[in-house]
């Protein structure tokens, strides 16, 4: 056995650690090598000191002081929480909290704006209705045209006008909101069954006999298109202005 091999085995020179052959070889080498013998002596000393420490009972005069010192040190050196003005609880830094906060903000702001938008729509519908009523005459207004009388949204008579006669859609929308104008248009162009005519409609029919002869429900032929193109716009403007004036009176 040489010194290098002996160095590996010196720290295992304890009962039960080495085989009988290894132990014999090591003892032979230590008896002939002073350096390795000295190494073995130092190792033995260390083992004895460790054994002595194992026998000492641990003793702490003030345990609270120790834990306080430890926690203080942790807080002082924790880069996530830090200290001072921007101190945050640990949960506030969690991604789940951020997501939840965003959802809460979205719900709060969204419900406010959605609710306000819906209410604004209702409010504007009410204003349109009241404006229409004031334009076509209130309770004291001309009775024949007060509710536009004959306009029926299901017949689609008015709806078919823009594409066929080239009247701007915005005009149609505007007039659609005016029940009186719509009623007049419907009567003249749509002629719903059993509608009859009042003095108001008679007046318009007399003034625009060519227009009044058109039956839109049967489709338009070239002659009718020509009549609408030449007289339609003027007629609609006249209807609008008549409605604003409060309709046609029988003595007119």
């Amino acid at each position: 056995m040489n010194c290098s091999q002996a160095q590996d085995l010196i720290y295992l020179y304890r009962p039960g650690e080495l085989t009988g052959g290894q132990r014999q070889e090591l003892e032979n080498h230590l008896s002939s090598c002073s350096a390795c013998a000295a190494e073995r002596k130092a190792a033995l000393g260390t083992e004895m000191r460790v054994s002595a420490i194992r026998n000492i009972e641990p003793r702490l005069d003030d345990p609270a002081l120790l834990s306080g010192a430890i926690m203080g040190a942790i807080t002082e050196y924790n880069p996530r929480t830090g200290g001072g003005f921007l101190a945050l609880p640990a949960w506030a830094s969690a991604p789940a909290f951020r997501v939840a906060a965003c959802i809460a903000l979205f719900i709060l702001c969204g419900s406010f704006f959605l609710q306000s938008a819906l209410d604004a729509t209702k409010l504007s519908a009410l204003e349109v209705r009241l404006n229409t009523l004031s334009m076509t005459g209130s309770a004291a207004g001309p009775v024949d045209i007060r509710f536009g009388s004959l306009f029926d949204p299901h017949t689609g008579g008015l709806e078919t006008l823009p594409g066929r006669v080239g009247i701007g859609e915005s005009d149609i929308r505007r007039w659609r909101n005016d029940a009186g104008v719509s009623g007049a248009l419907q009567t003249l162009f749509g002629r719903p069954e059993g509608s009859g005519t009042t003095g108001f409609f008679d007046y318009l029919s007399k003034k625009h006999p060519r227009l009044a002869s058109i039956r839109i429900e049967n489709g338009l032929d070239d002659r009718e298109r020509e009549i609408i193109a030449s007289e339609g716009e003027a007629f609609l403007k006249e209807v609008e202005s008549l409605m604003r004036e409060g309709g046609v009176h029988h003595d007119r």
């Binding site: 945050l88 909290f97 609710q115 306000s116 309770a139 007060r146 509710f147 059993g194």
Partner: protein
């Protein structure tokens, strides 16, 4: 003159007199609903004399209402009923009883709905259908749309004519039923119920001048005269009590020609009682001249209503009792009150969440 009046002017002179001098009273009903839930309702009438009028409107009878008479001029009095309610439920319960059949049925519901940022007040009050014309369904003559339009004040001539046709069909139904009942008693081989039914519509057209749907009805006085042996005479067809003797003969002649049976001439008693029933119907519920001016003041801003008149947060309706003949008259309004405290709390929450998010993000970057 409306078609109704034209028709009836010769139909029943006496009834016209009733209409002309009848009660044309306006009932003013004002309901105030406050944000704290308390409400107040005031009903005002101008009965003229210091006497509670016999109105189809269900006037308050319980002691919870303050009754006040004020003199507005010489022998002119104003009657005011006022009641305060502690909450909306109390107001809603006020009319939650089964009304007398001679009175208008009122249904009043006010609901408060809390929606965090806003509180909504929904007010719905309806006056039930009030009419004795119950023999013919209005839908037999008018469409749902036309019924709605008439109820909410459409006064178009065509619509009025159609509504008038419905009234006359009711009157005719009363007469026709008596005729059928009388014919059953005759045991005539021709005048069977089926035979009568087959000629029912034809007889109606004869009596109304074969007017098309929506057209003005012709004067029955002249129609009976023209189609009977009284043509060209000055015989009085209608008197104060309905058909005169000549009128009865004229009617029987026209009926006999339409039903192609002289046996109808033996049904004069049925004809007379039929006209009597029609007369009763003409004088019945919903034919007087009352009108209603109804207003409701809701807290906050008015969002939706079917009222024709809106001033600020006051919605007003004005209608005559005849508008209740076809269907219920419903008054609706919805208002919104902003919950300022809820907006403040939400603002604080939003601000807090934003700060937390910001700080959290800043820390995340530092790591």
């Amino acid at each position: 003159m409306t078609a109704r009046r034209m028709y009836h002017s010769t139909l029943m002179t006496c009834l016209l007199a009733i209409w002309a001098t009848g009660c044309l009273e306006e009932h003013k009903v004002k309901t105030t609903i406050r944000a704290d839930g308390t409400c107040e309702r005031t009903i005002t009438l101008n009965p003229g004399q210091k006497e509670v009028p016999g109105s189809p409107f269900p006037l308050p009878v319980d002691a919870g209402w303050d009754t006040n008479w004020t003199q507005s001029g010489d022998d002119k009095y104003i009657l005011t009923y006022t009641k305060r309610f502690n909450n909306l439920e109390e107001l809603s319960r006020e009319y939650a009883y089964r009304a007398d059949s001679g009175k208008i049925r009122i249904d009043l519901r006010v609901r408060k709905t809390f929606r965090w940022f806003y509180t909504y007040y929904d007010y719905v009050e309806s006056y039930g259908r009030f009419s004795d014309y119950t023999l013919v369904d209005p839908r037999a003559v008018l469409t749902e749309d036309e019924i709605d339009r008439f109820t909410y004040g459409d006064t178009t001539g065509t619509l009025d004519n159609k509504k008038e046709e419905w009234v006359v069909r009711n009157l005719y139904e009363a007469i026709y039923r008596e005729l059928v009942r009388g014919a059953e008693g005759l045991h005539d081989s021709l005048l069977t119920p089926d035979y009568m039914a087959a000629h029912k519509e034809e007889f109606f057209r004869v009596l109304t001048g074969d007017a098309g749907s929506g057209s003005k009805l012709r004067d029955i006085d002249s129609l009976l005269r023209e189609q009977s042996s009284y043509r060209g005479t000055k015989a009085k067809i209608f008197g104060e009590n309905g058909l005169t003797g000549e009128g009865l003969k004229a009617f029987a002649e026209v009926a006999a020609r339409t039903f192609r049976s002289q046996a109808i001439g033996n049904l004069k008693g049925s004809i007379r009682s039929g006209w009597g029933a029609a007369l009763e119907m003409l004088k019945g519920r919903g034919t007087s001249g009352e009108s209603f001016a109804h207003s409701v003041i809701l807290p906050g801003i008015l969002l939706e209503t079917n009222a024709p008149d809106v001033q600020g947060s006051t919605a007003s309706w004005k209608f005559e009792i005849k508008r209740l003949q076809l269907r219920d008259y419903e008054m609706r309004a919805t208002s919104r009150v902003i919950n300022e405290w809820a907006i403040a709390v939400s603002g604080v929450i939003v601000l807090g969440l934003l700060v937390l998010l910001l700080v959290s993000l800043v820390h995340g970057k530092r790591r």
